[in-house]
Amino acid sequence: MGHQLVIYEKEFARIERAVSQLVQAANARVVFVVDKNGQLIAASGEVDDIDTTSLASLTAGNIAATGGIANLLRENEFTTQFHEGKNAHIHIQLVKSRVILVVIFDARSSLGLVRLRVRKASEELGVIFDDIDHQAPQAQQASPFAEITDADIDNLFND
């Protein structure tokens, strides 16, 4: 049975704070956090210039593909990826095998600085997602689904 990722206000604020701090500290254009299934969790920086939803699914696909390669090589997951472009570079870090921290940066920053700042931010995000995991039973109780009626569902499809 699949389970849900439920994020409460307090933890969401902590994630957003960590992400926006990383934008500043790493001199990044954009930072975002994606779960391994491709759901965008939080983003900060010049997000208006980027289709973050598509980027989230492609990043997750990328991590999944390299994870598949790692399995074939009997390796653990490859936790870090870096792609260098002409103007934009992307640093992808897997945090606790659970979420993906993506930093997009340009000539205003450097790979060394990004790596350094990502390390600290990864630890912080790791703690936050551990906290979210420990809240799972409470989250189940707060699920909004229990109150959804057939009429609510019908209304979604009545244009």
Binding site: M1, G2, H3, Q4, L5, V6, I7, Y8, E9, F12, A13, D35, K36, N37, G38, Q39, I41, D51, T53, S54, S57, L58, G61, A64, A65, G67, G68, P137, A139, Q140, Q141, A142, S143, P144, F145, A146, E147, I148, D152, I153, N155, L156, F157
Partner: protein, 211 residues
Amino acid sequence: MSFINLMAREITFKVVYYGPGLCGKTTNLRFIHGQANESARGRMVELATEEDRTLFFDFFPLELGEVRGFKTRLQLYTVPGQIQYEAVRRLVLKGIDGCVFVADSQFARADANEVSLESLAENLEEYGRKLNELPYVVQYNKRDLPGIMDIEELRAALNPTGVPEFEACATTGQGVQETLQAVARLIFVHHREQSIRSQRSNSAEPVTQKT
């Protein structure tokens, strides 16, 4: 795995279109994307080969509207149908909330349909999931072509458990929206039942024995 953001009041589900090569998975998504309001749909990403065959997945997000104050969104994915991409198909199934099995109605594709359905069940098991416990519908596509099987034959081979099923012609859009709506409904109902079960078990009084 659904994603619920209680602060932004958003719920997101992942729906995967699965089926044999050239059965019409991408065509389903293209039709839905073409019909959706621009404000409700995100950009469609297609990771395809030079021959326009899906290499990794096609994807786009679709806003459904609000339920009980929560914005709901489907993330629609296809898998590559070609037989050699089994490992990729497995990756795309990760975190799935609902599935559409798109069958090719042509006689010549009968075996391919069955092999694909078996691989769907096997790949889900890799994640500890079972097809019969997943919100799941079947679409019999290409009903407009000659040389197609009867629905009874398709049903016997591909839908023995009687999940919702739809005849379709994805190139014209016949049956496409109905299929999508059906899987979305099943996802909501499934999550509602899960939530109710979960609340009951959380609120159940501990059993004590009187002496």
